[in-house]
């Protein structure tokens, strides 16, 4: 789906003419959209703090532990399965890419393409969640066993909850888009959904590194 710059600019011109024909661009909307975008980005920043607090807790406990991964009942917990983690991460990053295509196709007023990509994104999101469920079932430690389990399950659980909320968010967006709530020029909901989805990907980049690769 790589689009060359020239093709992109023609699409841009075409879209601008479409918007002009629509005449429904309310002058206030540009203002409202900027306000909502700033509000949503600040919300994502606040969410970052939530994860960084738990990451601080994980780092604090890990650096003050005599040995890592910690010993429980005389046995040292073995490391997490990196291969499965890598595959699961790719599923989530893939859904980030497909979501980006979804928004691009909506901007280019290709509703069919939008539906295809957003459904694919939701599917990949659910795939990641099932991967996480498998990871939890086969995890070498329990939530209450040690500080490693406490940090791992709390952080990835919180992230999993955010992914689940994202899937619900995207499903609602897909339904609303098809119901015509969003037009060619007024689609802030979709922008917010994409930003949120990319945010959830980036949080996983950090968690993947902290728990699997370090």
């Amino acid at each position: 789906m790589a689009v060359s710059a020239k093709a992109r600019s023609s699409a841009f011109l075409e879209r601008a003419s479409v918007e002009a024909r629509f005449h429904d661009v309310d002058p206030v909307y540009a203002e409202t959209r900027d306000i909502r975008t700033l509000g949503f980005v600040l919300f994502l920043l606040a969410d970052c703090i939530l994860f960084s607090s738990f990451i601080f807790a994980y780092l604090y406990l890990r650096t003050s532990a005599p040995v890592w991964p910690p010993v429980v009942d005389g046995k040292q917990i073995e490391h997490l399965d990196v291969a499965f983690g890598a595959m699961n991460s790719i599923v989530l990053f893939g859904s980030g890419v497909t979501m980006h295509f979804a928004l691009e196709s909506w901007k280019n007023l290709k509703k069919a393409a939008f539906n295809f990509w957003i459904v694919l994104t939701i599917a990949l999101g659910l795939g990641f969640l099932s991967g996480q469920a498998h990871e939890y079932l086969s995890a070498p430690m329990t939530w209450t066993g040690s500080s490693f389990g406490a940090s791992f399950f709390t952080l990835t659980g919180l992230h999993g909850f955010h992914v689940f909320a994202g899937v619900v968010f995207l499903t609602v967006l897909a339904i609303q888009a098809n119901r015509g709530v969003y037009t060619g020029s007024k689609y802030f909901g979709l922008v917010a959904g994409t930003l949120y989805w990319h945010f959830v990907d980036v949080i996983w980049v950090l968690l993947f590194f902290l728990f699997y690769l370090w």
Binding site: E31, L45, A46, S53, A57, Y60, L61, S147, F148, A150
Partner: protein
Amino acid sequence: MDVAAHPVEQHEAHDHIHPAPTGFIQKYVFSIDHKVIAIQYFVTGLLFMLIAGSFAELMRIQLWNPKGTFMDYHTFNQMFTMHGTVMVWLVLIPLVTGSLGNLVMPLQIGARDVAFPWLNMLSFWLIPVSGLILFSAFLLPDGAPAAGWTEYPPISIQQGTGGIFYCLAIIVVGISSTLTGLNFLVTIFKMRAPGMTWTRMPLFTWATFATALINLFATVALSAALLALLFAQAFNVPFFDPARGGSPILYQHMFWFYSHPAVYIFILPAFGVISEVLPTFARKTIFGYKMIAFSSLAIAILGFAVWAHHMFPSGIAPWLQIPFMILTYLIGIPTGIKIFSWMATLWGGRIQFTTPMMYALAFLGTFSFGGITGVYLACVPVDFHEHGSYFVVAHFHYVVGGGAVAAFFAGFYYWFPKATGRMLSEKMGHLSFWLFMIGLTGTFMPMHWLGLEGMPRRYASYEVFAKAFPDAVFWNRFESLSSSLMVLSVLLVAINIIVSLRSGRRAGNNPWGARTLEWMISSPAPYYNFKKIPIVLDKPYDFTQPLPYRNLDDEHQDPYPVPSEAALPRGATAAVGA
């Protein structure tokens, strides 16, 4: 300064006016008008203040007798915990940011409402929900949470399910204040009147901006700490259990990372109120506008880096104490700049002793004293003696009671006419002021030396200490009596409100002759605030210059506003220009 010199493109985007709210529910219960929400915050805040205040009174009665026979220890522990928790999260933050911030900030920047009115309504309605969860903990078999408003594990998670209700309630109120912070930030960033650059914004809006920064970024860290505490208590997750790799000190780090910025959430809007009240009643421009504005930001940012001064003797590594001590000392400098600038504002003014001004002048005294005892606690070796003693209780009640609450009352008496269109009674105002100040001094001044002598905090009985220092009994009784004066003061505020709402004198647009935008419209302001969004050309504070606004709703606005007779103490005015 005529308009031509300042080409300002007309923001027609703001000019649309939503249809008026209809019906009682939409107007007063589920209203999205920031002014109505401010009044809702105020009423809820005052109600919780009375409840938490009565908890404090029960504690004072308990401490009347060193043997502490009035109530059993566990009840007393619940009392000081709920007093602290309710005062911090359901009284001070909602009153200072929700009530004053909501009422004044949108008006001062010339906006029609906050950026997200629905979110504003949700933020308010989370407060009663949180209060419900918190107070229903009293019905639990083990009663309300009883480990202090800090709820340190492991004791907080061994004391019955009250701790879980505490976590849930404070996460809910945390969501509310995070959303309020976000709402105010976006409003101040995006919805200022045309021409109002950052250095032309009123100082209360500057303070609300700095507070919103803290609200947005610090409160979520608290939600994380309480979520971890909830998991630790409900699901036995070993974050804080040393036997399974956890560390009790970890909670203290996560908790105080929020809770020190939280005390700046109380005090920054209080600074904003003082920066508005002093110029108006000294009839003189604020001294050092830029320094005061940037000091607010400096305090907000430095506030994030000092949290471990609450944990000096708690077992953190000795070398770690020094950086936090130094950073805490640094916060003294911007605070000092503010206090000296306010003093310079008084110099050469024409000072009227209205009730808001009385509170503002007293604030300069009590808050400075509280700030200085804060330096004692920031100094590590001295803190080894004073931590966990009544000296700490004295310090923060001077800064919170004499600082944030006194400044809140100044803001309340100052903006009550704008919110309701009625003047409050000056006589009752002065009486409640003196009761509050005398009560505050009588209650909390003796705590300084009780703490220095060695009376620990959170003790339901102090027999052993009283045997070592017999004068402790006298001072504790003196405090218990003085605290009743503060109760009278708050009750008098309530009476003053009820009386004034019914028969207070009409307050016109601008009873105090102030110059910020909220005084340019009617009292109470219409739901859309401004028919035409004004244009701002300069800072509002210079009383010798005409008003720096264009395109005001009131064509015949007097360029040099003067206080109305209703506002001045009796016999203080003469004919204009005589």
